[in-house]
Symmetry: C2
Subunit: 387 residues, 2 copies
């Protein structure tokens, strides 16, 4: 039996970026207070959260303080300190979800791919590589070109280098962090990038409708839902995503990025143990948002309905121009005036090129197709100007 | 041209109840920080607001502090101090919307009804009454029974007394506050109670689809949208609500309660110069919420689309049993598990009988009718238990 007290429960969140901000926005209607820990004073999540603890992500005393002031713990960044969370969960009895051990799988792409492959989840072929000779052997096995990847520390495409027989393997290996931090993955020739926001609840799982992602310069630009592919492919993507949950430990929302291959088969690309940029569309486009689901799941509450309210397109609003601490200003009239457009502005204190400053979501108000909505979201995104 | 800075603008709100809470929840996605002033420590709006100033609603120094820390001022309670707001707006140059003078119209029902009648807005017949003899005269003019009303200080039906020839007019007059505070209004035999959430923007007006309200013990229990009446009546209700805006001064959302008469004509019952309980359904049921609209309007931003996303029913979750400071707990499993149901829990620190503790909104997930959604919302409302 789920009960709501006055005051309600408090959710402690390691990380206070835009994901923490949207978690706090989603927690409030449920009567749940959010407390965030983040090293940046006035982090994006600070205004809608009840309070912020200003501390580094690996500050054990501060995480302990967070736990002592909270009823549940979670994290919105992979940088969260797994050992500290595990120890503090044990010492304080305040449950942390996902389980800190899951961060192992996330931090190390080789460990992650092995676990998925062992569980029968389709992933691109891969090899552990320690030396330039291993890279050459892997290219023989997997075909060239292939992708040399940092096992740990990669983000938004950083740490991925295409390699073939002519590449300086030693130099490439050094660039991704050297021996002990590298793997080679077969080059994936995909038709489409998909993603599924899946949820592990206390008593069952759920998945939102399959989204289609558009990346440029290895950064997510847009997501549209439903993905413009066949029902079969969408069903397969959903099934694979739910299979991935079996490999992960702990309740919560997971963002699962997938490749759709030319033959309609699916493989897993990356997993985020938290709400994901490609699930922001759920705020307006689904019967519940990924953020509400994460709050419910972490607290052990029943999960909410994940059905689509209507075709939806989301476009990120990325910083352009130069770094700016104070003067970032966007002309948002077109976004504010468009019917069915929803602005999300993260309140970041500083603009940087390609930094995620906000997003816009377009939902169907008449009979627009997914393509129309995507075109509309792009036009709105392009209408803003940064100073 | 609307611009969004980093950090964004701050909206100062006098009052920090559930309306302030939902304002803060709606402001955050827009990048707008909310600062509330409320005498109750840890008021419902405190968690999602950036900060709370703990002070009485008529504490001039505190309101001045609020203005100095904000870019715009508004209020979410009629108890806001009109004179203080007017003076502080003039002194600080921080604009307050709606204009404080509008509170005059709201505080005094006689002044309000006169202003509406003068503007050609349909209202029930009324008479100012100063003495028991005036009450008898009014009954002769308007017919008996009629409603004796307090001009000021009434709320949720308090201050309304039905009177006829046999009533002790002197005693009734004393009960509503005596000479100088009374009016008699003709008894309205209505088919249906409707309400329209209307918005005065910087450059135009808008109105959400017409809702149908169900009251019991003079407290709003449920709202369903669209109202179950004819298109003609809905159009007329919308037109009357937009006419009401002409009488009011300042930007913002106004909740306008209306009567639908047997002949399909409309008259105005009450006006709230703020988001209203009968507009809570907009959070999930419309393309924008009344709270987002209020933020946009007060800031002078373009208004958002007000179209219906689908039939919607909202039911208030009211405190029952006895007063309780700590132990109020509701079993919310049925609400959390119902597809299309959305919980809003206000985080109040104390339960009292009939106190608004939260609400549940049911949106269409398949092809449920408005009646089905209302029945569903009532069942969910009745499933909760307070300790």
């Amino acid at each position: 039996m789920t009960t709501l007290s006055t005051p309600g429960p408090t959710l402690g969140v390691v990380g206070g970026g835009q994901l923490g901000r949207m978690l706090a926005e989603a927690a409030s209607p449920l009567g749940v207070d959010v407390l965030v820990l983040d090293p940046t004073t006035d982090c994006p999540a600070a205004p809608p959260a009840r309070d912020q603890i200003v501390a580094e992500f690996d500050d054990t005393d501060a995480i302990r303080d967070l736990a002592e002031r909270a009823d549940y713990l979670t994290f919105e960044i992979e940088l969260a300190d797994q050992d500290a969370l595990e120890r503090i969960e044990r010492d304080t009895g305040v449950p942390c979800h996902p389980k800190p051990a899951t961060l192992d799988l996330i931090h190390d792409k080789l460990v992650q791919k092995r676990a998925l492959a062992d569980a029968g989840v389709p992933v691109p072929d891969f090899r552990e590589v320690e030396s330039p000779g291993d890279v050459a052997d892997a290219l023989d096995d997997l075909g060239a070109p292939a992708m040399l990847k940092a096992r740990t520390g990669g983000y938004d495409g950083r740490g991925n280098i295409p390699v073939d027989e002519d590449t300086d393997h030693a130099a490439a290996l050094a660039e991704v962090g050297g021996e002990g931090n590298a793997m080679v993955e077969s080059f994936v020739d995909y038709e489409r990038e998909l993603s599924v926001i899946a949820v592990q609840g206390d008593d069952g799982t759920a998945a939102f409708p399959v989204g289609e992602n558009v990346h440029r310069e290895q950064i997510l630009r847009e997501t549209v839902v439903p993905a413009r592919t066949s029902d079969d492919v969408r069903d397969r993507a959903r099934d694979v995503a739910l299979d991935v949950l079996d490999v992960l430990d702990g309740r919560g929302v997971y963002g699962i990025e997938l490749f759709e291959h030319a033959d309609g088969s699916i493989s897993v690309n990356e997993i985020a143990p938290r709400p994901h940029n490609s699930g922001h569309w759920t705020i307006e486009g689904a019967h519940s948002s990924q953020f509400e689901q994460h709050v419910r799941a972490v607290l052990g509450w029943p999960l909410a309905a994940t059905g689509l309210r209507g075709p939806t397109a989301m476009a990120n609003l990325l910083g352009d121009g130069t770094d700016s601490r104070d003067a970032a200003i966007a002309d948002v009239d077109a976004i504010l005036e468009a019917p069915g457009a929803n602005l999300h502005w993260y309140g970041k204190r500083e603009t940087r090129p390609l930094r995620k400053m906000g997003h816009v979501t377009c939902v169907q108000t008449a009979d627009e197709s997914v393509g129309d909505l995507l075109a509309g979201a792009r036009t709105l995104r392009d209408s803003i100007a940064f100073d």
